[in-house]
Amino acid sequence: MTATQDAPVAEIGRDRRRKEDQRLITGRTRWTDNITLPGMLHLAMVRSPFPHARISGIDTTAAKASTNVVAVLTGADLGEGQGACINAWPVVEDQVTPAHVPMPSDRVTFAGEIVAVVVARTAAEARDAAELVEVDYEELPAALDLKDAAENKVLAHPDLGTNVSAVWRFDSAEAGTGGDVEEAIAKARDGGIVIEREYRQQRLIPAFMEPRSVVVDPTGEQITVWSATQIPHILRFAIAASTGVSESKIRVIAPDVGGGFGGKLQQTPEEMIAFAVARRLGKPVKYTETRSESLLSAHHGRDQWQRLTLAADKDGNVTGLKVDLLADLGSYVAIVGGGVPVLGAFMFNAIYKFPAYQFQTTNVLTNKTWTDAYRGAGRPEATYAVERLMDELAAEVGVDPLEIRERNWIKHEEFPFTTVAGLEYDSGNYEAATARAKEMFGYDALRAEQAERRERGDRVQLGLGVSTFTEMCGLAPSRVLGSLNYGAGGWEHAEVRMLPTGKVEVVTGASAHGQGHETAFSQIVADRLGVPFEDVEILHGDTQISHKGLDTYGSRSLVVGGEALVKAVDKVIEKAKPVAAHLLEASVDDLEFGGGRFTVKGTDQGMAVTEIATAVFAAHNLPDGVEASLDSEATYDPVNFNYPHGTHLCAVEVDTETGQVKMRKYAACDDIGQIINPLIVAGQVHGGLVQGIAQALWEEAVYDENGTLVSGSFVDYLLPTAADTISFDLDHTTSPCTTNSLGAKGVGEAGTIASTPAVVNAVVDAIRHLGVNDIQMPCTPERVWRAINGGAK
C-alpha cells in the first residue's frame, strides 16, 4: 500500500457546475409529466368560474358519452374516500379552519375550485369532455376585499359565522423580551418621532417553471404517487392521515421537479383527486395542469395589509414598533398558510435593537385562491415593512438612510444577541457587509449625482434604496416549532452507503427541486470522506429510498440536511476505524484520518476508506464483533435557526414624465457564513433578487369585483425575464454560523427578502423631493406618475 495520491483540492468553497443541470436543462429526465405507465388514464378538471356558489346540479351525461371517456366523477361520487387537504399549523388553539374537501359536492368557495373530474384515455379527450360537463351554480355573495372580509361584511363560509380564522399576538412586555410598546409610542408623541404607515403586500403567484403534475399507480401492493412536489415525505403522511390508507402502503416520489419557491409546498386537491380516482378505477392516472390552471389554483403568496407604528427619539433611535396585520388566507387554511404571517412576526425587528415590540396578525378567510408559503414566507413582508420605515425615519430625522440604520443595528461585538422577538442571533457583521456594499455600489458618487439631478430639475431623477436585511432560516429547532403549534419537527435525515466498488450513495430527506443538492451535497461528502466528487451519488425524493425526511423549504436543506449528512459521514469514518486498525495491524489510537485515508501515525502505512469498504463487503477478515457494513445514518435537529444577513443597495432612474422606473445599479453584499459552492450561491441570489424586484415593480395577482382572477395568464401577470434585469454586483462577507459544523447559513430566500424594499426605497427616494413618501407595490409607471402628480392610485 503506497500513498502517492495528489493532495486533494478542497471541494467545499469550490465553484462546481451543477452535475444535475445537463439532464434538467435538456428535459431528458423524469419530470412527472414524462412518466407514462401501461393503461394510464388522463384527468381533466372542471373548475368553478364563480368565487362563491352553491352547486345545484351537475349533468355529466354528454361528457360521459364523449369519445374514450372512462368516467366523470363529482364530489358526491368520490365522497369521503377522497380524504381532505390538511392544515398542519393551527396557529392558535381555537383557529377557525374550514373543512377542505378536495372536490366539494355542495358549495364552491373560490373561482377555480374543482367540481368534477373527467377520466379519459388521452389528455386531449379528457379536456374535450370537460367542456361538456354542465354545472348549475347558484351564486352566493363573495368575500373578496380583505379589509371588508376582516369585518365580516360578507362571509366566505357562512356556516362558520366568521371570516377571522385566527388572531395571533406577540408582545415583548408580556414575553419579557422588551418593554411596553404603547408607552414607547406615547413618549415619542411627546417630543420624539412617531411614524404611522399602512403598507400593502400585494398577492403574488409563485409561477414555478414546471406546472404541477401527478401520476398515481394503484396497481401492485403499494400505491405509488409521483408528484411535482417539494414535500414527498409530508405528502405521504398527509395522504395517509386524511384517507386512512396505511402510510406503509403509500410510496411518494418527487422525481425531478422544476421549481417550487414554496408553491409546491402543499397537499393539493389535484393530488388527492388523482389518488382517489386511481384507487376507485384501479388504473394508473395522470393529471398535469395547464399554466392557466396553475396561476388560478396553485396557492398564492403574500397578500397582507400592514398597519405600522414606529416610535423613535428625535435622533432616530427607535424606541418601539407596533405591527397590526391583516393576512388573506384565501378560502381555506392551507398546509402552513396560517403560519406565514407568524413566521414574519420574528423578523419585524430585523437587524435592530428595538426596545419594545408588539405584533398582531388577523388571519382572514376570503373567497379567493388559498395563500401559503412563497419564497421567504412572512419574512419578506416583515423586512419590507421595517426597511421602508427606516427610510421614512431617516427622512424625518434628516439623515442618510444608512446612518439611521447604523444608529439602530446590533453591533458586531454584541453577538450573540437576543432580540426583542426572542430569537438569539448567533453571528453577523452588519458594519462589514454595509461597508463592502457601499464600496461596490459607489454610494457617495451616486448620492452626488442624485443631488445634481435634483438641482437641475432633470426629467429623469435618480433614487438610491437601502435594505439591510436579516432573516431566520434553516427550519428549524423542533422544540421551537412545537412551541408555535407547528405540526411537525424540523430535523433532517441522511444516510451514507459505502458501495463495494468504492463509490458512495447518499440518501437525503431533503427534496431538491432546482437547488443543486446533488452537487453541493457531493462536495460535502467528497471533502469529509476524502472521495472523488464524481464518485458520490445523491438519492432523494422517494419515500421508499429516503424513508425519513422533512423535505425542502425555508432555506433548510444545506444547513439542516447538509449537517445531518456530515454526521452520517462521521459515523462511517468511526465504523471504518476498527476495521482499518485490524487490517493495518495497528492500534485504533495510532490511526489518523485525512484525505480519505487512515494512516498509522509516523509511518507511511495506510489504507483508503474505500478500500475498507471493499474489505467490509467481502467480510473475510473483520475484527470480532464488527458488523459487515459501514453504512450509517444520522438525524440532525438544529439548536437554533440561522441568520444570514446582507446589505443591498439599489439605484433606479425614474422618468418623472411617464413614471417609468429603470434599474440603474444593484450591489449586494450577503453574509451567509461558509459557502459550499459559490456558483450555486450566485444562482440563488440572482434568482432571488429578480423575484423580489418583481414584487416591487411588476407582479400582482389581481381579482376583479366578480372574484375573477384578471391576471390569469402571463399576458397580465408580469413575470420578468432576463431582458428586464441588469447585471448585479455581488460579494460576500463571512460570519460563520456558530450552531452548525459547516458554519453555513441558508441562502435560498435571501435575495427575495432583501431586494423588494431596496427597490421601493429607491423609487421613493428618487421622487421624495416631489412630495412623495410611498408608492404601493407594484410600483407601476401609472402609480408613480400619479404619485408625482398628487393623486395616488
Partner: protein, 290 residues
C-alpha cells in the same frame, strides 16, 4: 393547453387556399405563422373546425421593389422584413417598429401579413402601416382588390378582409430619406405595448416639412394622429414646437383602461411618446427616454 380538435390543410397556392376557404367558410381560420392564433386555440378562446395554413405558399413570401413602393408578401416573416435593406432605406419606420416587436422567436415565426390581418390594436405594425399609408392587397374568389390603410382596420381584431378573402401583399409607399422612430412603452420586455407611437418625418433643413404619426393601442384600431401631423408641418424641430404639436395626440383616441393604466394615463403617455418619437425621427437628441 390542448386545443379542441380541428382539421388542418396546407394549400400550395393562393387559389387552393381560396378554394379551401370558400368550402369551409366561417368554420375555418387562417394560420399565418401562428404567433397569435396558437395561444387562442390552446386557451380554447376559439375552436375553428378547419385551420388553413398559408405557410407553404411560396408566392406569398418576399419583398419586391414596385417602383414607388415596396411590396411585402403577406407571409414574409418579421425577421425578414426587419432585416431587409430596401425596407431600411425606404421605410425606416417599419424597421424601427420590428426591432421592438415581441422577441426573436416570434419574429422568426410570425409574419408581416399575419400580424396585420390579426388587427390587434396593441400590435406593433398597424401604427406604422397607417403612418406610411400602406395599401393592402386582398385576393378573393372574384379577384384582387386594394384597400388603403385608413380603411383596412375596421374594429377590434376586425379588418376589411372578408371571410372568403386572403391578404396577399402589403404595399408600402417609399419614404426615402425620412427619419423614423417607434416609441414603445412597456413595463416588461415581452409585454404588448401599453401605448406606442410611430413617427416618420421628412426634414427640410431644421424644419419638419412633413410628418406622419401612428398610434398603437389608443383605440379599437391602430390610429393616425392627423392633428399632430398637421400641427407639425412647417414647424422647427425644436422641443417646444414639437411638444405643442404632440399635445394633439389624444385627439380622436379612445384608449382602453386595464391593469397597466387607465385611459387618461394612456392619453398622457401618447402625448409624451409622440413628442419623443417625432424629435427622435427628426434626428434631435431628445431627452433620454426610458
Amino acid at each position: 393547453m390542448i386545443p379542441a380538435a380541428f382539421e388542418y390543410v396546407a394549400p400550395g397556392s393562393v387559389d387552393e387556399a381560396l378554394r379551401a376557404l370558400s368550402e369551409h367558410g366561417d368554420e375555418a381560420k387562417i394560420i399565418a405563422g401562428g404567433q397569435s392564433l396558437l395561444p387562442v386555440l390552446r386557451m380554447r378562446l376559439n375552436a375553428p373546425e378547419w385551420v388553413i395554413d398559408l405557410g407553404r405558399i411560396d408566392s406569398l413570401r418576399g419583398i419586391r421593389d414596385g417602383g414607388d413602393h415596396l411590396a411585402v408578401g403577406a407571409m414574409t416573416t418579421h425577421h425578414e422584413v426587419g432585416n431587409d435593406a430596401g425596407i431600411h432605406e425606404h421605410a425606416l419606420l417599419v424597421t424601427k417598429a420590428i426591432a421592438e416587436l415581441a422577441d426573436a422567436q416570434v419574429r422568426h415565426r410570425g409574419t408581416f401579413g399575419g400580424a396585420l390581418a390579426h388587427a390587434d390594436p396593441a400590435g406593433d405594425l398597424g401604427a406604422p402601416a397607417r403612418a406610411l399609408g400602406a395599401t393592402f392587397v386582398i385576393q378573393g374568389p372574384s379577384g384582387t382588390r386594394e384597400v388603403g390603410a385608413d380603411d383596412f382596420f375596421v374594429d377590434l381584431f376586425e379588418t376589411a378582409i372578408s371571410e372568403d378573402e386572403i391578404l396577399t401583399e402589403i404595399r408600402i409607399p417609399k419614404h426615402t430619406g425620412w427619419g423614423a422612430a417607434y416609441q414603445k412603452f412597456v413595463r416588461i420586455a415581452h409585454q404588448w405595448p401599453i401605448v406606442a407611437v410611430a413617427a416618420t418625418v421628412r426634414m427640410d433643413g431644421d424644419t419638419i416639412a412633413e410628418a406622419r404619426v401612428g398610434l398603437t393601442n389608443m383605440g379599437a384600431t391602430p390610429l393616425r394622429a392627423t392633428a399632430v401631423e398637421e400641427a407639425l408641418a412647417g414647424q422647427p424641430a425644436t422641443e417646444d414646437a414639437v411638444a405643442a404639436a404632440a399635445a394633439n395626440a389624444p385627439e380622436g383616441t379612445d384608449p382602453p383602461s386595464d391593469l397597466n393604466g387607465d385611459a387618461d394615463y394612456r392619453r398622457h403617455l401618447a402625448t409624451v411618446l409622440t413628442r419623443r418619437a417625432v424629435l427622435a425621427a427628426a434626428g434631435r437628441n431628445g431627452i433620454p427616454a426610458i
